[in-house]
Homo-oligomer: 239 residues x 2
DNA sequence: ACACAATAATCTGTCGACAATTAAAATACA
DNA sequence: TGTATTTTAATTGTCGACAGATTATTGTGT
């Protein structure tokens, strides 16, 4: 046999228990990228057919997503993609700002050379996305950039919370990207540059200030998007 | 029929989908309270027999616990209760301290009268537990006290992270309660009193300082427990 | 024509069983 | 006797099917 294990058959393309992870990751991305709109019902049978597997592993993936708050299960009724609760956005902004500050500070304190390589990698990709005016790529690379900083800070609790917050932020930005303005992203490129330099210099105070400023920028941007939004009732929960 | 719905039979004491929640809560508590030791294997068949239900709802509860990090699933092999990783305790201390400070500050800013009632309730219960020298009750009520403060702060992201951290702390304290000293708890009673007063006065600065001090106390306490621990290899992961 | 009740359809929650995989036990061999 | 190899056992991951519950549909009465 030239190939020991690639696909055990045409039906089951995943080996033993890898399917759940695949379903989880796929749905996660589709929810974050608003491929599935908030409030949309999730049909287990449909997913089972789509991924060509039983409902059982599908449900396990859904339970994971529910634990993360990405989907909401109405008991005995449909499970839906969680709505973005615009009524409590201040909680989100507050936590996001704090995590920006804390993770950047910790990165300055704890980073090793390998971390800088990763951070610079995403910093460059973000600048590149700005150059080519690819809005979705900007949103995605910006997330990875700040997540790389968080990982350099070496605190799994912060990394976990920050990941959730950045993902939530991606959903909101996607929802309002229509009014995206390409002045702001260039500003972000500069701010990213300054943050990285402060991390390299291990200047905690400067990191904290840059991170706070950066967070304020993003919060203001999101707020301006929302207030500039013209769609009627776009912010109302569907349920 | 005098009773419309209580138990549909002697076998299934829970109605439609309430079983998973029960299993989750029960296992959660048993893990937190160290009824099940870290590293212990979790047998699905055994749990299914114990709760007299199929493996399917058991597995869903386990997936939830795994998402929370309380259990670890080795693929195709046993799932075990997660070990406390003593190598990265500083991450835990750092995050715990930050959450103490942030939640107490927010409580000062956002609390309403009903919150104070809840906070005072648990403050009194803690003091009472100290009086009766019930160590486990101290640990439990202390958690509820600080969680009540966090809830008064009205930020679900912080409440969620803080909950996880406090639970992790409970596991560690349980592991080392043998050397519990009843001088410290009295100090905590005073500190709790001062924190509540600062919250009532809406004094953010004072809240921050008291919370930071309180966190430092607890961190020092845990650290002293660990260094005073005489058991050989008690801090080593089993795997 | 509208409100209400009965019925049907659809989807979730649960179950028992089978397949795949790994750990343990038994056997063979040096 | 100790080590490698096969066999057995136990346990996880997956499946198809059934039962309970909710929503949509149809039917009935005023």
């Amino acid at each position: 046999m030239t190939e020991t294990k690639e696909k055990k058959s045409t039906k089951g393309p995943f080996k033993r228990g890898a399917g759940v992870g695949h379903v989880y990751q796929t749905l996660h991305r589709e929810i974050i990228e608003l491929k599935i709109a908030p409030g949309s019902p999730i049909d287990e049978l449909q997913l089972a057919a789509r991924f060509s597997m039983s409902r059982t592993p599908i449900r396990e993936a859904l339970v994971r997503l529910a634990a993360e708050g990405l989907i909401t299960t109405l008991p005995n009724r449909a499970t839906i993609v969680s709505n973005i609760d615009f009524l409590n956005l201040s909680q989100f902004f507050d936590a996001l700002t704090l995590m920006y500050r804390v993770t950047t500070r910790l990165a300055a304190a704890n980073h090793v050379p390998a971390d800088l390589k990763e951070i610079n990698h995403w910093k460059d990709l973000y600048a590149q996305a700005v150059e080519s005016r690819d809005v979705f790529e900007m949103i995605a690379t910006n997330r990875e950039f700040h997540l790389a900083i968080a990982k350099a800070g070496r605190n799994r609790y912060y990394v976990e919370l920050f990941t959730r917050l950045l993902d939530e932020g991606r959903r909101i930005l996607r929802l309002y990207y229509q009014s995206y303005n390409d002045e702001i992203p260039h500003l972000y490129v500069d701010e990213h540059e300054k943050m990285v330099q402060a991390i390299i210099d291990r200047d905690l105070v400067l990191c904290d200030r840059f991170a706070a400023d950066h967070a304020d920028q993003i919060v203001r941007q999101i707020q301006s998007y929302i207030s500039a939004d013209t769609r009627i009732n776009s912010a109302l929960p569907l349920g």
